[in-house]
C-alpha cells in the first residue's frame, strides 16, 4: 500500500525516475542560492531574472526550434545581459539596482512574449512557461546535473566573500576588489540555475524551487549553513511530494512541485521553531538572564 503510494511509481516508470533525478539536481543548486537571495533581501530578484531570460530562450526557439543547447545559451545570454546592464546602470547613475533591474527585466519580458507570439503556437508558449519535468531526456538531465555541480563548487569558492558582501559590503570593498566580482558571479549562478529550472519547470516556476524552500527554512534555523541544508532538503522533499501528487491525482507536475514547496512554506510559517506563528501563542516563561 505504502509501497504503491510512494515508491511504486518510480520503480514502474522511467520518466518518473528521470523527473525525480532532475528535481533533486535542481534543489541542490537552487536551494543554497535561494538562501543567499533571501538573506540579501533579493527574494524578488530571482523572479525578475526568471522573466529576463525569456527573450533569449524565445529567440533561440525561433531560430533553431526546440533545441536544448541553443535555448540554454539564449536564456543565459539574456539573463546575464540584464544582470550586467542593471548592475552597470546602478553603479554609474542615480538609480538603485532594484529600479534598474525592474526596467531591464520588463523590457526583456515584453520582448520575449512578443517573440514567442510571432511564430509560436500556444502549446510552445505553455512549454516555455511551464516546462516539461516529465519529459527530461538524457541531454537535459546531464545539463541539470552539470549546472548543479558547477553551482555547488562555485558557491563553495564564493562562500566567504559572499557572506562578507552580504553582511558588510563596505568592509569587503575596503580590503578587496572582489566585491563586485562576487556579486556578479552570484547573479550569474542565479541565472544559470533559472535556466536549468526553466527546462524542467518553466520560467515562471523555476524561481519557486529557488525561493520557497529557502524562505521556509528561515522558520527552522538562523545559521547560514543550517539554512542551506534545510532549504536543500525541503527542495528535494517538495520535488518528491510534488511528483507523487501529480502522478496520483493526474495534475501537471511542474506546478504541483511548486505547490508542495508552498505547503512546506505554510507548514513552516505555522509550526516553525524560529518565530513561527503557533509557537508565539504557546506561553513560555522568560529566562532568568
Amino acid at each position: 500500500m505504502l509501497y504503491d503510494a510512494l515508491i511504486g511509481p518510480f520503480v514502474e516508470f522511467e520518466f518518473m525516475r528521470r523527473a525525480l533525478a532532475g528535481s533533486v539536481a535542481l534543489s541542490l543548486g537552487a536551494g543554497p542560492l535561494g538562501v543567499f537571495l533571501m538573506l540579501r533581501r533579493m527574494s524578488l530578484v530571482g523572479d525578475a531574472m526568471a522573466h529576463a531570460i525569456l527573450p533569449g530562450a524565445a529567440t533561440a526557439y525561433l531560430l533553431t526550434g526546440l533545441s536544448l543547447g541553443w535555448m540554454t545559451v539564449g536564456g543565459l545570454a539574456a539573463g546575464l545581459a540584464v544582470a550586467l546592464l542593471a548592475g552597470a546602470v546602478a553603479r554609474t547613475t542615480a538609480l538603485e539596482e532594484d529600479a534598474s533591474l525592474a526596467a531591464f527585466y520588463l523590457l526583456s519580458l515584453a520582448l520575449g512574449v512578443t517573440l514567442v507570439s510571432v511564430r509560436g503556437t500556444s502549446i510552445d508558449l505553455l512549454h516555455v512557461l511551464f516546462g516539461t519535468v516529465l519529459a527530461l531526456d538524457d541531454a537535459t538531465l546531464l545539463l541539470l546535473a552539470g549546472i548543479a555541480s558547477v553551482t555547488v563548487l562555485a558557491l563553495a569558492a564564493l562562500f566567504r566573500p559572499l557572506v562578507m558582501e552580504s553582511v558588510d559590503p563596505g568592509f569587503l570593498r575596503s580590503v578587496s576588489r572582489m566585491g563586485g566580482v562576487t556579486h556578479l558571479a552570484f547573479l550569474g549562478l542565479v541565472v544559470l540555475n533559472l535556466v536549468a529550472g526553466f527546462h524542467a519547470l518553466g520560467t515562471l516556476l523555476a524561481v519557486g524551487i529557488m525561493m520557497l524552500p529557502a524562505i521556509a527554512a528561515r522558520f527552522w534555523t538562523r545559521d547560514v549553513t543550517g539554512l542551506i541544508g534545510v532549504a536543500t532538503g525541503i527542495g528535494i522533499l517538495s520535488g518528491l511530494a510534488g511528483l507523487l501528487a501529480s502522478y496520483h491525482l493526474g495534475l501537471p507536475s511542474g506546478p504541483t512541485i511548486i505547490l508542495a514547496a508552498g505547503v512546506a512554506y505554510l507548514f513552516s510559517l505555522l509550526f516553525g521553531t524560529e518565530r513561527g506563528w503557533l509557537p508565539r501563542f504557546l506561553p513560555r516563561r522568560h529566562l532568568e538572564a
Partner: protein, 244 residues
Amino acid sequence: MSAIHFNDLTLGYDRHPVVHHLDGEVRSGELLAIVGPNGAGKSTLLKGIAGALAPLSGSVGVNRKATRIAYLPQAADVDRKFPISVYDVVSMGLWRRTGWLGGVGRQDRAAIEHAIAAVGLTGFEDRAIGALSGGQMQRALFARLLLQDAGVILLDEPLTAIDAKTAADLLDLVRRWHAEERTVVAVLHDFEVVKSVFPQTLLVAREAVAWGASTDVLTPDNLMKARRMLEAPDRAAERCPRAA
C-alpha cells in the same frame, strides 16, 4: 616620514567641493583628530584617504605598498539582521591572510580570540550580531580592526552614541595603536576627548581652518571661524578660479 600626503586635494560630489584645496601631511605614527561642524567635510576627507572617493582635483597620497589602511566608516553599513556570529564578523579582519579559500588555523583562532578579549567581548563569541547593543557592535568592529593589523587606521565618529565606559575602552585601544606607532586619524566631536587623547588636530570647514597641536587648534576664535565658513552650497557657483 609622511603616512598620508594631501596635495591641493579637492573632494566633493557633483563638482561641488566638500573638501577644498587641502595641503599638508600626516606623519607616520601620528595620532590626529579631525574636527569641525556638521557638513564640514570630515567624513568625505576620510573616504578620500581610504580611496573610497576619487578626488575632483589634486591628490591624496598614501604609500599603499608599505602601509595597509583599515577604515571604519561612520555607522558602518553592517546588515545586523544577517545571521552571523560575533566570532565570524571579527574573523573577517583576517581576510588579507585567508582570502577566498585559505583555512583559519590554530594561530588565527588564537588571534581572533585575543582580539575579542581585547575589546571585552569574551563570552559573546557565538552571539548573533543582531542581538548586540550599539556599543557591543562597535566593540566587535574594533576587534576586527585589531585583526586587520593596519599601519593607517581611519575612524569616522567611532564614539558616537557610545556610553562612557565603552568609549573609554575603545580610546584605550586607540592609545595602544598610537604606542605601536600606527597612524590613527579619527573624526571626533568631543573636544575634551580630543584634547586628552589626540596630540594633533585638524579643524576643517570645507577648507582647513587650523592644523597643529590640539590645544592651539581648538581655540574659540578658530571654532567661530569654522562655523562662519560653512554657508549653504551655492547652486549658481562659478567654476573655482583656483582649479588648475
